[in-house]
Symmetry: C2
Subunit: 399 residues, 2 copies
């Protein structure tokens, strides 16, 4: 499917001229304007397609904890850039997942990492948090003093950088800023294109100055963790509509729009705002290739435009999702939540125990404000469908 | 400028065919695709233009307190639907302003009203608020016990409805829902098209069921008062990008996008999302025809993408603006603020006294998240420039 993209520039003009001559003979004065034979493969901004070498300028968003190689493969087969979230993986597990992907699909691959500044758990805050959660522990018959086997959420480090140097993914994306400049240099030296997320213009400028090749402008609509790293004020976070053009104006690198995009209309609108691509997460949650549990799927399928909020109680960092019981009863925002990722540690036993009972009381239900636009279909089909709808929409806008 | 819109359907096809033949002869294989001679006046969705009978599908947003007939006239002369905010006007003053507009421009006109449920001031809350503000009164040498001549912010009522029946504006728009059905019927019987704002899908459905002919989907990026009337949770308010397509899917009437739109890119993106028009406010604040004071203009011209927040301390209802001193020191959100519009009453003497000193410590600095995209230019020129940029952008998207 990549070939027509290359041929289009030379073939399109003469072909469409003759097509128009014929159209006019057949339809008379009412022949449809601006119909190009090869137009179905044209994007108004080709920088991301050319840089990523993907069929479509769509990035399947990495969503740690609810997906693995299966979704990456399916999205890549559909023409998107598949992204493997590695923030909760060990180097060994990341290597294993990449090997699975490489065996099944020859498409370019993105590996995603968190790069927050790690802070040690503060024993006093942890104790306060445990106390806050004590009624839930009691209700579920759990021992609050039992050691917790919490999920890993370490920042990108030299050990992971070695994995990158070994596996050489085509793209590496970071959330919460960028790692130390020495690590960024090593990632680039390995031949990887560096992608990073900004939630405000100031962050976008910082990322460009510090080596990002591509910037994701993450609007406030986006599900999951806010990528914010130079600001802590949730109330000031701009929506996608305001953020994208201002980031585009502020940086020279290509910008990918994220937040509230879940269909062809959203993709077309992102290009209108000046983006060269889109990152889509929530829309992929309802694909059979995701690892979202059945009770979480039920919550997703019932969510409306105003069903999500930004919370800090699930991990200690602001993230958007559908309110679960603990978000409703303690949050969504609480000063008691320990720093990222330690808030999640106290919740881990509750999450596991409740999930065994089929409940999502303590489960992250990350989702963006366009969750309602999601559909139950394979990720490959979803990707292709969204891309085709976007191209049709773009043609329609100038018709 | 309206005429070519009508001729386009018949002329465009043959003209553009010959244009393409010539282009191909001149440019060879690299002739620009989809260039139509009359395309500069085409909009992909013409419902709003045809309903409003304006040159462009742009509504200049009514902004009570910082504009009057001058901005309405200038925006209308530029091809937008000019909107006079009447929420803070007496019937006499509204009549006077409309007469000025009608004498100067023959374009269609929109009159805008608030339609909140009026609540009496709660003496205990008022007293608490006054106490909260006491240090400011002291600092400015004001007597907190002096009677306040607060600005009128009455909901639309039978007296205003008589003004509508007399003046017959082509459009009437409402904020905070719709007035009683008897009043809505009278407005419609006077021949006015009824426009109303929704901040969530549920509100849009309610508005359509209760008589709105056009719905404004007001995304969280928008400056000024949130139009919310079936929800009070600010944290759940969707951004423009997520809201517009979901409202479009939920109602049959044409949808106007608002929030974060300040240039041609934003207008084009709104159409991509399914809107049939846009409402633009903040971008008009820096026009010489607005009544924004010099110190407030200074704040606007320095504002960035993350410079605005939603506050309830200025009036008692959530509204987005640049933080002034009282928002920073007491808010932005405070449970102490009396119900709308009574919070503004206690602030009124402080506002007046500080403004005399050239300070905006207590002045509403309503602005949306795209405030940075504003430019200092006459409203007529701004309107035409945004419309032309939008059309150019739409053509470019399918190029």
């Amino acid at each position: 499917m990549a070939a027509p993209l290359e041929r289009e520039a030379t073939l399109e003009c003469i072909a469409c001229l003759w097509f128009r001559v014929l159209s006019c003979l057949v339809f008379g004065r009412r022949c449809p304007p601006s119909t190009h034979l090869y137009e179905q493969t044209m994007w108004p901004d080709r920088r991301i397609i050319e840089l990523f070498k993907t069929e479509f300028p769509i990035v399947q968003a990495p969503m740690a904890g609810i997906m693995d190689a299966e979704l990456v493969i399916a999205a890549a087969q559909g023409g998107a850039l598949g992204s493997l979230p590695c923030a909760m993986l060990t180097p060994e597990k990341a290597r294993e997942q990449v090997n699975i992907i490489r065996q099944r699909v020859s498409a370019p691959l993105n590996l995603n990492f968190f790069c927050h500044k790690a802070v040690d758990a503060d024993p006093r805050r942890e104790a306060g948090w445990k106390q806050r959660l004590a009624p839930y522990y009691k209700e579920l018959g759990l021992d609050p003093a039992a050691p917790v086997n919490a999920a890993n959420r370490s920042p990108f480090d030299p050990a992971m950088c070695e994995v990158i140097e070994e596996l050489k993914p085509e793209m590496v994306s970071f959330h919460f800023g960028l790692p130390d400049s020495a690590l960024v240099r090593r990632v680039k030296a390995a031949g990887c294109i560096v992608i990073a997320a900004a939630t405000i213009v100031k962050e976008a400028i910082w990322l460009e100055e510090n080596g990002a090749d591509v910037i994701i402008a993450q609007g406030a609509e986006a599900g999951g963790h806010r990528g914010m790293f130079l600001t802590e004020n949730i109330g000031e976070q701009p929506g996608t509509f305001a953020l994208v053009p201002q980031v585009v104006d502020a940086v020279k690198v290509p910008v990918i729009a994220a937040g509230g995009i879940a269909d062809g209309r959203g993709i077309a609108a992102a290009f209108a705002l000046g983006a060269a691509g889109v990152q889509i997460g929530t829309a992929y949650l309802r694909c059979p290739e995701s690892r979202v549990s059945a009770p979480a799927q039920a919550a997703l399928s019932q969510a409306l435009d105003d069903s999500t909020v930004i919370t800090n109680v699930m991990t200690g960092r602001p993230a958007r999702g559908i309110p679960n019981r603990v978000m409703r009863e303690i949050g969504p925002i609480s000063a008691d939540a320990p720093a990222f990722p330690h808030a999640a540690t106290g919740l881990a036993p509750l999450k596991a125990a409740a999930e065994k009972l089929g409940k999502v009381d303590f489960t992250n239900l990350w989702a963006g404000q366009a969750v309602r636009l999601g559909r139950d279909m394979p990720a490959s089909e979803l990707t292709r469908g969204m891309a085709e709808a976007a191209l049709a929409r773009l043609r329609q806008l100038a018709a």
